[in-house]
Symmetry: C2
Subunit: 322 residues, 2 copies
């Protein structure tokens, strides 16, 4: 999950230097620096590349910007004509900058600290490309999938192909594992979930495994609930990130029955609240999942109002239990 | 699920007459009229009371208003002192107006058409009371529950007590079944889900069953995913509404193994899209759940941009399959 961010004073300093948010993503020196900051401060076991899931549409030529405090804005893709204007042949220029960040970061990290690369899953990236911004229900993309499944399917295929290229480049540059973030997997009915979440992810996993058979692939089908088992079985991911609402009992069952490594689900708001609530839940997660293939993690990214000392406290709590 | 609304020209006409949205909820003549409109137009098997889940905080004395196109605004409840200012002794005045709507509607409906009353579940109502508005993650209420569980628990207890009074009044006035809407059940980790969703709902169910043993109670734990089984088992609801993302397979399992009536999960956006997508999914739902205790329903309320003719088409599709 996202480790770097506005909750860290050292991040805010670099962020102010970088100009736009996308400039920071495309500046290997600064992006590598903010990737390393949480590792230096907290001594975590793995670093996650600092980047954004909207690098892919940006690299494809869709206009992407970030409005401070409001999130991303894109020129919405609403038709086959808009889709035809995207250019997959030009993505390399931007992807190379991200790969350079990966290489620099890998070189700077201690060998025992893993570096995780990532991309947004095709469905989730498509919701932003079609809607032009984040939304609570992803209605624009869902409607396009209903009304014009052919165009939507071609968009998803393009994202599969580009994501394979993107992830493969990150692995070649030094990423030890990769994660596929499907933050909006939770809004789809089961038949649409199979078509736009499961099938494209399976395709990406297969292509990455063919090129890099030893690199673990983690999926994050946020809010997939009882459909998570199906996701794990049918995509072939090695690990699954579980969101905050996914029950510990269900995580334990997945780990036991599906031969998958589970990670999650600490509520990022517990890092804001701190105190007894943080401590109690952390112990509960550790005791429920002890002895299973489990990576301690949050259920979603760290939020800006997190006091850094609560993260330090969480790390100490976990280390002391080991 | 919500049947009346801006997608119907006859609703917009009454809405314009009513003044504020809450005025409409508290006007028995007009609220009854808009409850009946979808029944007249589509010949549905059941009507759902036109009202709002925020009637309860309003009746308790919290200031509630509705901003056109933006949703509800409340003076946020952020402390034990704010909680102490609520007055449960005064709720009767407003509840009586809703009960009068129920009585009028029941009298106007054909005897074979059921009337469903409802309330918001304590957790969901509390998220609005604490946050002062809707939010994608209900962070304010979740943080209050972490930081000050005693105050939050007293707020939930007050909502349980008031909701029992509210629902009981609706049943006495003529509601044939009642539904408890927990629209934000999906944001909570399992331990918090048990405490703020399951336990208060179980409490309401027990109290209502003691007073009205023959009135069916439907729960709607939206986005509860794999925790839905636990919700059904532990609350004692007779029926469960399943949201759009809950899989048909899981609905079939619930209906078979938990002796509960299932309803849902047609995507309201399919009523916007219409066409083949609507038809295919409707047939899929009907064929998967045929022969089980199942009520055809949407996974969430009808949205404003729905063409009414798509609703008519859906009704015809279902009737022709029977």
């Amino acid at each position: 999950m996202r480790q770097a961010g506005r909750y860290l004073p050292e991040y805010r300093k670099v962020r102010a230097q970088a100009g736009s948010f996308l400039n920071l993503c495309y500046n290997p020196e600064l992006a590598s620096e903010v990737t390393l900051q949480p590792i230096r401060r907290f001594g975590l076991d793995a670093a996650i590349l600092f980047s954004d899931i909207l690098v892919v549409p940006d690299a494809l030529g869709q206009r992407v910007s970030f409005v401070e405090g409001e999130g991303p804005r894109l020129d919405p893709l609403t038709s086959a004509a808009d889709l035809a204007r995207l250019d997959k042949l030009q993505v390399g220029t931007k992807f190379d900058l991200v790969n350079e960040t990966v290489a620099r970061t890998r070189a700077a990290l201690p060998p025992e600290v893993a570096l995780i690369g990532f991309c947004g899953a095709p469905w989730t990236v498509a919701t932003y490309m079609v809607g032009g911004r984040g939304s609570p229900d992803q209605a624009d993309a869902r409607l396009m999938a209903y009304r014009d499944p052919d165009t939507f399917s071609r968009l998803i295929d393009l994202l599969v192909e580009t994501s394979v290229q993107y992830l493969s480049g990150q692995i070649s540059a030094g990423a030890d594992a990769i994660q596929i973030f499907d933050s909006w997997a939770g809004s789809l009915p089961d038949n649409e979930f199979d078509r736009w979440v499961v099938a494209p992810t399976r395709h990406i996993v297969r292509e990455i495994k063919a090129r890099h058979p030893n690199t673990p692939i983690i999926g994050f089908p946020r809010a997939a609930g009882e459909k998570t088992t199906r996701y794990v079985r049918e995509t072939g991911v090695d690990g699954v990130s579980c969101d905050t609402a996914f029950s510990l009992e269900a995580m334990a069952t997945l780990a036991e029955e599906e031969q998958v490594v589970v990670q999650g689900n600490l509520d990022p708001l517990l890092l804001v609240a701190g105190g007894e609530a943080l401590e109690t839940r952390t112990r509960q997660i550790l005791s429920t999942l002890a002895g299973r293939p489990f990576v301690f993690n949050l259920g979603h990214g760290i939020v800006p109002q997190t006091p850094p000392e609560n993260v330090a406290r969480l790390v100490a709590l976990i280390r002391n239990q080991e």
